[in-house]
């Protein structure tokens, strides 16, 4: 029963990882760039929420409702003013610039909030649990995180699958030059994608901040887990991201169960095993190359 419990906890942790991974996957899918500051943006969002909670004595959910649109706006402006200038100049400039952003964000957070670890006041939700019988119980907060991840992924799926703007995302991901011939402005579309990406990672950051402590330098770890979830699940597959997150989560909790120091390592090893056996990921979309 203890093992079953471990696996359930791991699956739930996967919901949080999927929230981190979705925005990263979206940006790579549409723009073919990797946002190396992705994890740092999530920590920035968590600090913004802490600031709102401290200054205005808001509930963390209310802070979340303010931080998500603020981060989405930041993403839009960042894409319009900085990242769009890097288009069509090869793969190196976006890597260098987002790496630089990562350093800037970490140091700005250090300057503004010191090196102390912080946490959002969960108001009791972090310890409340739901008994499933047989001695098995799941934390309400983990369950809510997973549900939020499912809602976000479903919403994104509907947006990309059913709307004209979503079709434009897919067309641009397929072939940007031809998409422009259809009247799709790639710069505007990329700005929208970055807004979505940072809005979603802001949710991830705030949920992380309620779940555990974080500090100015917590971003790169988040980026790594997000990467691993995306690669395990398969690039371009939204639901694969959730499965990838769940596999990573289970690997980490099972590893930690074996020995407390093995959690992260086991996650990396499972990731490497997937890379060896199925480098395209578990749910990679079959893409025909003409």
């Amino acid at each position: 029963m203890a093992w079953l419990d471990t696996i359930v906890q791991g699956l739930l942790l996967g919901g949080l990882y999927a929230l981190f991974a979705t925005g990263l996957s979206l940006i790579f899918g549409v723009m073919r760039i990797v946002n190396l500051a992705h994890g740092d943006f999530s920590i920035l969002a968590a600090f913004l929420a802490v600031m709102l909670v401290d200054a205005l004595a808001l509930h963390w959910l209310l802070a979340l409702a303010l931080v998500v649109p603020a981060m989405a706006l930041l993403g839009y402006v960042l894409q319009r003013t900085v990242l769009n200038r890097l288009l069509g100049r090869g793969i190196l400039p976006p890597i260098l610039v987002t790496f630089g952003l990562s350093i800037i964000i970490q140091n700005a957070l250090l300057e503004a909030f010191s090196a102390d670890s912080r946490r959002l006041n969960p108001g009791g939700i972090d310890t409340a649990s739901l008994a499933l019988g047989g001695g098995l119980a799941v934390g309400w907060f983990s369950l809510i995180t997973l549900l939020v991840a499912i809602v976000v992924l479903t919403g994104l799926q509907i947006f990309i699958g059913r709307t004209q703007r979503g079709r434009a995302f897919r067309a641009t991901a397929d072939d940007q030059a031809t998409a422009a011939l259809m009247g799709i402005d790639p710069r505007g579309l990329y700005a929208l994608a970055m807004a979505l990406s940072l809005g979603i990672v802001a949710i991830a950051g705030v949920f992380l901040g309620v779940r555990t402590t974080f500090a100015f330098g917590s971003g790169p770890d988040r980026l790594l887990f997000a990467f691993e979830a995306v690669i395990i699940g398969g690039l371009g597959s939204l639901w694969g991201t959730l499965v990838g997150g769940a596999i990573l989560g289970v690997a980490q909790t099972v590893g930690a169960k074996l020995s407390p120091g093995w959690g992260i390592l086991t996650g990396h090893l499972v990731f490497l095993a997937v890379l060896l056996v199925r480098p395209q990921g578990l749910f990679a979309r079959q893409r025909r190359l003409d």
């Binding site: 004209q164 067309a171 259809m182």
Partner: protein, 232 residues
């Protein structure tokens, strides 16, 4: 009235100059063919007009407005649509989604999903399949229909016949003839001369990035076209 006026258009790929002072006019409702050998600058010309390559502002005029160098997506808004070489169907989109994305700018006009399906029942049958599951000829049908869905004022088509069997090419030109007969202003680039001369009112032959011959198809003898085409 000229729909399109091109004046001394130069075009470059980096340091390489591909077009040398091309000038031509296309009247409202006219169908013009551009022929020429590989590398003569035909596709480059269409790309420069459609905004996919840089051009001087005054080099391209649409209905009297200088639009040279405007980005491709903006030119679609103004009514210029390019059906690109190699069809370029979006593999992630179904047949119907490919058509809908053609109407992204939602310009009003007579071309709708229903009308396309009425003309190409084959596309209606396969509307839910990925666009790249179609045969080459069907993909070309889809690419032309996708262009029509933008309801352009100026339709530019690059190499309809590329990689297709002669019978399929003839079918496609039959359909195109009905489209141009409705008054769609069209510029067709082709290497395969025989079909395109059937629907064109005027023809321009390009060689080495410049116009080597132009006129009405019935005025131009095969030997003159061959001479302009190959530079003999």
């Amino acid at each position: 009235m000229s729909r399109l006026v091109v004046r001394r258009l130069d075009a470059f790929y980096g340091d390489f100059q591909a077009l040398f002072g091309i000038s031509l006019e296309v009247d409202d409702g006219e169908t013009v063919a551009i022929i020429g050998a590989n590398g003569s600058g035909k596709s480059t010309f269409l790309k420069a007009v459609a905004g996919a390559l840089p051009a001087a502002r005054t080099a391209v005029e649409l209905d009297g407005v200088a639009v040279g160098g405007r980005p491709a997506h903006e030119l679609v808004d103004r009514g210029v649509t390019l059906v690109p070489e190699g069809r370029r169907i979006f593999p992630s989109l179904t047949v119907e989604e490919n058509l809908r994305i053609g109407a992204y700018r939602a310009r009003a006009g007579r071309w709708t999903l229903e009308r396309v399906y009425a003309i190409f029942p084959r596309l209606a049958e396969r509307r839910r399949q990925p666009g790249t599951n179609l045969s080459g000829g069907e993909q070309q049908m889809l690419a032309i229909s996708r262009g029509l869905m933008a309801n352009p004022r100026l339709l530019l088509i690059d190499e309809i016949s590329l990689g297709l069997a002669p019978a399929v090419v003839k079918q496609l030109y039959d359909v195109l003839a009905t489209v141009t007969a409705e008054g769609m202003t069209t510029v067709v680039v082709e290497q395969d001369v025989s079909q395109v001369l059937r629907i064109a009112r005027r023809v321009f032959c390009f060689r080495k990035g410049a116009v080597s011959l132009f006129g009405r198809p019935d005025e131009l003898s095969r030997s003159r076209i061959a001479a302009a085409y190959f530079g003999t």
